[in-house]
């Protein structure tokens, strides 16, 4: 029978519950400790080659409680001699690091105790977020149960207008189908506009599958993926493509030329409007970073817009390179200097304020335009603060004007 990419990687039919061996299981400093506790409760040795531990959420330690938690995680890392371990100074935001370090590759089955694990679908992996207990169980047994998802096929044909990024594609889709429009389902993306995207923009699209309730956001791998993985990937991999005649639960088609810079207003990623319609919305903070949009390509776009301009006097801009590698490249390319000269603040690599952790938490009544993935109530701080999700281009343009701005409308 003809199968989708998800059905082929999971080797089952949509709706079926299967138990499958995973290639990797990733945990971070928030989800890692409960995972190791589950592992110890099971009581068998961990399967070391499958385990990746990455500190990113509350490191460098933000307070005593997070310091204690990170210390417990490091104690487990030493106890079991975890070889794929990345302290924050060597790593950064877990999903970008999983890709940079060559864990994510076409055809692989990867789980992570973080919901944005679906990011690796941009390289043709079936990757999905799980909880801590099941991450710990997978450390012990190497496998986990899945309900094989049905698949929604999304096709974007044509050429994207200037300053329309991967973020705008996925926000448009989520705005159309809703935050539960892909509940239990996987995405597969096709079309000339998707093929033309760089890997970074594709990762943004896959990253936000979960914001539609999706299980995976998969883009069929091509030469851009293969060349990225050259001299990077750990081990070998085998690309998986959908069969001719595979059954899709839904199909959605978009004309790339009709897409515009999009913003998701509080308090759902589906609450979208074109950036050009939100000009009256002043912002206290502009945040550029996260697994969604903290890559070098994102920083380049923002720096280009800020060139010769300054961050508005009533707005603070915070730039958080996703990983050490992104930070180093930004240094080499002069982007860090450009951001600082434009009036932005630069943080080291961390998940930071994306989830209201630290390094840019919002006060009561404050509003942030952010390149991150969630704008839930209180997501970045006070319950009466607001987050507007947007692309790096829109974040940079808004930082300049002090209100939400379509980058095409800058003077």
């Amino acid at each position: 029978m003809s199968r989708t990419i998800s059905e082929k990687i999971l080797n089952g039919d949509a709706g079926e519950i299967v138990e499958r061996e995973v290639d990797y299981v990733m945990v971070n400093d928030v989800t890692g400790v409960p995972a190791f506790e589950a592992l110890e409760e099971i009581g068998t040795p961990p399967i070391l080659e499958k385990i990746v531990v990455i500190e990113d959420h509350y490191v460098p330690n933000k307070d005593i409680a997070s310091a204690m938690q990170a210390k417990r995680l490091r104690d487990y890392v030493r106890k079991y001699n975890i070889k794929h371990y990345y302290p924050v100074e060597k790593g950064g935001v877990c999903h970008q690091l999983m890709i940079e370090e060559g864990f994510a590759a076409p055809g692989r089955l990867i789980i992570g105790a973080d919901s944005h694990t679906c990011s690796y679908g941009a390289l043709g992996a079936f990757a999905t977020g799980v909880g801590s207990t099941e991450a710990g169980a997978a450390m012990a047994s190497g496998e986990i149960w899945f309900r094989v998802p049905g698949t929604q096929k999304i096709t974007v044909e044509g050429t994207l207008p200037k300053f329309v990024m991967g973020k705008d594609i996925i926000l448009t889709l989520i705005g159309d189908i809703g935050v539960d429009g892909s509940l239990y389902a996987a995405h597969e993306f096709y079309g000339s506009a998707i093929r033309a995207l760089n890997l970074s923009d594709r990762i943004t699209i896959s990253n936000m599958a979960i914001e539609a309730g999706g299980k995976a956001g998969i883009i069929p791998p091509d030469d851009k993926v293969f060349s990225y993985l050259d001299n990077r990937v750990i081990g070998s991999y085998k690309p998986v493509y959908a069969d001719e005649g595979a059954q899709y639960a839904d199909t959605f088609e978009y004309d790339a030329g009709s897409l515009v810079p999009m913003v998701a207003k509080p308090f759902l990623p589906s609450n979208t409007s074109p950036a050009s319609e939100l000009g009256g919305t002043a912002v206290d903070q502009a945040y550029l970073g996260s697994c969604t949009n903290g890559r070098i390509e994102d920083l380049r776009v923002a720096a280009q817009i800020l060139k010769g301009r300054r961050v508005h006097r009533d707005t603070r801009m915070i730039v958080v390179p996703a990983t050490r590698d992104v930070y180093m490249r930004a240094l080499d390319e002069g982007l860090i200097k450009a951001f600082i000269e434009a009036g932005a603040y630069i943080s080291g690599q961390t998940c930071g304020a994306c989830l209201g952790g630290y390094m840019g938490v919002l006060a009561e009544g404050e509003r942030c335009v952010s390149s991150t993935n969630r704008n839930f109530i209180g997501r970045m701080g006070h319950k009466d603060s607001e987050v507007y999700l947007a692309s790096p281009a829109t974040v940079a343009a808004s930082a300049v004007t002090g209100h939400i701005t379509d980058p095409n409308d800058l003077d």
């Binding site: 519950i17 928030v30 989800t31 400790v33 409960p34 506790e37 589950a38 409760e41 099971i42 009581g43 068998t44 959420h57 509350y58 307070d63 409680a65 997070s66 204690m68 938690q69 992570g112 105790a113 973080d114 919901s115 694990t117 977020g129 799980v130 909880g131 801590s132 207990t133 099941e134 710990g136 169980a137 012990a140 047994s141 149960w145 309900r147 935050v179 539960d180 509940l183 239990y184 979960i210 309730g213 299980k215 759902l268 989830l355 209201g356 952790g357 969630r374 839930f376 109530i377 209180g378 997501r379 319950k383």
Partner: protein, 162 residues
Amino acid sequence: MAKFKGRVWRFGDNVDTDQIIPAEYLTTGNPAELAEHAFAKVRPNFPSEVRKGDIIVGGCNFGSGSSREHAPRALMGAGISCVVAGSFARIFYRNSINIGLPLIQCVVDVEDGAVLEVDTDNGIILDADSGKEYGFSPLPAFLQELFDAGGLVNYVKRKMGV
């Protein structure tokens, strides 16, 4: 397989895990400690007023967002006996089944403070005040087996023979 009777805490659609347990409290996995901050931003009276056996009723897409298992842990720590919702976000669904928080997928029209009787053996929810009954489907067989084993840890131990 169980019966629950409890007072309802009524929520709407798309209750995300940031609402259930805000990220600033994710420095412990202990259910009782997490319960002290459950719904801190959206229903600050919840931790002090919740009683053992209470039932949460949500709309669609309950538990959306983050993978934090701290969300069902916080609800278990608060003594919630089960969550009834029109639909559940997938990671919250997995986490709850894996750690033993009963979830019932069913659209129920009740207000805050109503009393529900949930019979998972027969798939019936009774609104004790109005007498109205709602039917629901049991878990898929595999997930029921996992739940009945006492959760994922016990299931895996049994499967691995440890």
